[in-house]
């Protein structure tokens, strides 16, 4: 009786593996690289506003988009010119201020990448990503 139950359980597990393996093979080139950002790293525009002056805004968009418009006081730091822009940002960084990185909806992986590099390479703490990016800021401003 027990052996039969174990056999049935193993059979069910084996059956469950069939679609899983199939999916892994079929979607092998379609892996989602844009895994969701942990909630602890995301901040909304309202949360950011509540932090007041205690924030350093980092604009991770390309140069031309930053030049067109940006959050007042934001520092440009994109991966197009990482080696040039990083020292400029670090010169203005302060350990008692929170860092919020944003980009636009079109390039919204950029803010995540920049935030990760600030944490990993510069070993900075309190680095966040703005939920909804530049568009969310604009919407809130209206």
């Amino acid at each position: 009786m027990k052996a039969s139950a174990v056999r049935q359980a193993l059979l069910l597990i084996a059956l469950a593996f069939v679609p899983a393996i199939g999916e892994a093979i079929y979607f092998r080139n379609k892996i989602s690289w844009q895994s969701p950002i942990p909630a602890s790293e995301l901040v909304t525009v309202n949360q950011a506003r509540s932090w007041g002056e205690n924030v350093i805004w980092v604009d991770a968009r390309p140069d031309n988009e930053f030049e067109r418009d940006h959050i007042p006081g934001a520092i440009l730091l994109n991966e197009d010119r990482w080696n040039e822009l990083l020292p400029q940002f670090l010169g203005q960084w302060s350990p008692d201020r929170k860092i919020i990185v944003y980009c636009s909806a079109q390039s919204c992986n950029a803010s995540r990448e920049v935030a990760k590099r600030l944490r990993d390479e510069a070993q900075l703490k309190n680095v966040f990503v703005l939920d909804g990016g530049w568009e969310a800021w604009l919407k809130d401003k209206r």
Partner: protein, 249 residues
């Protein structure tokens, strides 16, 4: 009557199936391995119009500003082959990068009108620097702090030069624990005044001559006096012991 209606349906279906436009892609996903120090990675997405009516490109849109995509022609005649070239500007990016190009055609079949082309590139840096910032609190003992630079084995880096933008910091380079590793020892001359320096790191790599990397060193400004600190100071000044010890009394 019914027979005539059926004939009409069959004829229309045959006509609809006969007049079709379809772009067949050789591949919609390309894996690129740019060489060390490359500034761009280029992917070619080849297609062929396997239908019997022309296909028009309505839009070709890259997922980020770092990628540009170009079509050879705006219209693809039946049987015609061509390609979309996607150019990814690497800039200062490292690691695995996935960029997409969305192609929209006038194909009436929604299943074929939109195609997402994926470009994946793995970028290995010439030099991995960590941390890119070393700093000292104001008044902290000016002991050296270490920045580790790991060189890519293929870069054949034998020597690193580190130049501080201001004379307030010294930087010394030593060999690290691994053959392609360097330890950069950074030390401020004084930690009583706020100073900032850009550390420019140059390698002797024959792979990408002239490439420079950056790190930063800082002595932070004195912490601003908080309300509690100020009240403690005021309290100390008001006590008799503090008054007695005051040289002005």
């Amino acid at each position: 009557m019914n027979t005539n209606f059926l004939k009409l349906v069959v004829a229309l279906t045959a006509l609809a199936q006969g007049a079709r436009a379809e772009l067949k892609w050789e591949q919609t996903s390309v894996d690129l391995k740019p060489a060390l120090g490359d500034k761009q990675a280029v992917a070619h997405f080849k297609y062929e119009n396997v239908g019997n009516t022309p296909v028009h490109f309505k839009s070709v849109h890259a997922s980020c500003g770092c990628t540009t995509a170009q079509t050879q022609n705006e219209q693809v005649a039946p049987g015609q082959k061509g390609e979309i070239t996607a150019t990814f500007n690497i800039g200062g990016r490292t690691g695995t990068q996935v960029k997409t190009v969305t192609v929209l055609t006038d194909d009436p079949d929604p299943a074929h009108s939109t195609t997402v082309l994926t470009l994946k590139a793995v970028i290995t840096p010439l030099l991995e620097i960590q941390p890119t910032l070393v700093y000292w609190q104001n008044g902290e003992e000016p002991k050296p702090k270490i920045i580790t630079a790991k060189a890519n084995k293929d870069a054949a880096i034998k020597k690193l030069d580190v130049i501080s933008s201001v004379p307030d910091f010294t930087a010394k380079v030593d060999a690290g624990s691994a053959p392609s590793e360097f330890k950069i020892s950074v030390q401020p001359r004084d930690t009583t005044k706020a100073v900032y320096a850009t550390l420019t790191i140059k390698s002797d790599s024959p792979v990408n001559t002239g490439s420079m990397f950056a790190a930063a060193a800082r002595v932070m400004p004195p912490a601003p006096a908080t309300k509690s600190t100020l009240s403690t100071i005021r309290h100390d000044l008001a006590t008799p012991a503090a008054t007695a010890a005051s040289p002005s009394q």
